[in-house]
Symmetry: none
Subunit: 131 residues, 4 copies
DNA sequence: GTGGTCTAGACCACA
DNA sequence: GTGGTCTAGACCACG
């Protein structure tokens, strides 16, 4: 698993980590049920403190993206279907993103095709790599 | 101009402010060329520190949404057309948002129609200015 | 005996096990004097470490819910009547639960009827043994 | 505010802290809107690390029992009405508590009156102390 | 060997 | 001056 962090960024490392993992799952680089590296492994690999990885994992667990098994560490999970709270958050986020895009001269057409492209890329991801 | 801030939120106030203004411009509540309140005015109106508003304005200026004239204060501007830097940022953001949405069970169809709805709402905005 | 464990939960497995057995006794699914599976049997059946079952049994014995005879294995026992220590613990627990419930908007009425329902369900339990 | 921690207990300090605060709010010792001590203050007062208090506060914030304002620290809040998830959790907890109590020889009558007593005690708490 | 918890001390972003 | 973040290193509970 390749995760790049930007230590100079002002978004906290654990957030970057959380985001990167979500995207990796979305892309299919991390399959459902697949195990993630140990907190300590990942921490060392990234040159980051254990607590930082811990926090990222805890958030992902809380959001339903992964489950932590005392015996075997963390594994990818499918979260529950979209709850109302999430949809609200999504709409708020999109309103901002779209406002910005529109002002930057990106029309509805272009925006939609951009989204389509991303959806396609995700769907085409490394599906069940070896099977 | 009505801007609502959530002091209990964990997104910094100056970011909330910056976002709210971008959305307001997107919706047409703030027209191109329109003047914004003085930093001090807005700060007082919102019950916020002057530094906070200052920071938000500075970011907006930097992003091309605002032009600041020492004589006339701040005014809304159309930013330059989508530069490469911005497009990259947009794509990164959308990849995250879409990954999350897809995992939460929101399909391409639903997502696209949600976007369409927001585009429509923005387009319908300017009329509401004077009511 | 059907016991379901949640390996993803953050309450330790031996605690889950102990709780499940207490509830099973409460419901009458396990009758007074009834023998429980061997530690090894149960461990294998649940796919769990022997130590884990051992720990759960030890706690239950300590609490008076189980008596362990080296020759016949473990058997269900009625614990001694409410000792002062237990009542204190109960009151502490209930104070927390009720505080939480009250703050979450669950009134005394609702709470009491919820308790009544559970008492009724427990009382109705023993019959279901053989079905 | 008087909070007693048991450092020898095996329930984590931050959980004990969280529980104690919930009870304090339930009892009315902490009123709605009232400010809590700074993380650092409380940490020093309790002889505990800052991170520990931080974690307790974060959980309480997450549960809706308090809100954290970047400018003024933490303050007590009323959580949203009982959601379905919470009610399920409550029922599970109560089933365990009641099973235990019943086996310990505490009948429905006694249990209910115990609950009533606690409800009454909470309601009678230091209501608006000085007003 | 895994994650969970805790510590002491530090720096930074925010207001 | 507030909380947020991060670190390095430690001990413990769990299985």
């Amino acid at each position: 698993m390749i995760l790049t962090l930007d230590f100079k960024s002002d978004t906290p490392i654990y957030v970057q980590l959380r985001n990167a993992i979500v995207v990796a799952i979305g892309k299919g680089e991390l399959q459902d049920g697949e195990r993630l590296p140990t907190i300590r492994q990942l921490a060392q690999e990234l040159g980051v403190n254990v607590m930082t990885v811990n926090k990222a994992y805890a958030i992902l667990k809380n959001e339903g993206f992964l489950s932590i098994d005392r015996r075997h560490g963390a594994a990818v999970t499918r979260p529950d279907g979209g709850d109302a709270v999430y949809k609200e958050k999504l709409e708020r986020e999109l309103t901002l993103v779209i406002s910005e895009a529109a002002l930057k001269g990106i029309g509805r057409q272009e925006f939609q095709s951009l989204c389509s492209g991303i959806f396609a890329a995700l769907a085409a991801g490394p599906q069940t790599l070896t099977e």
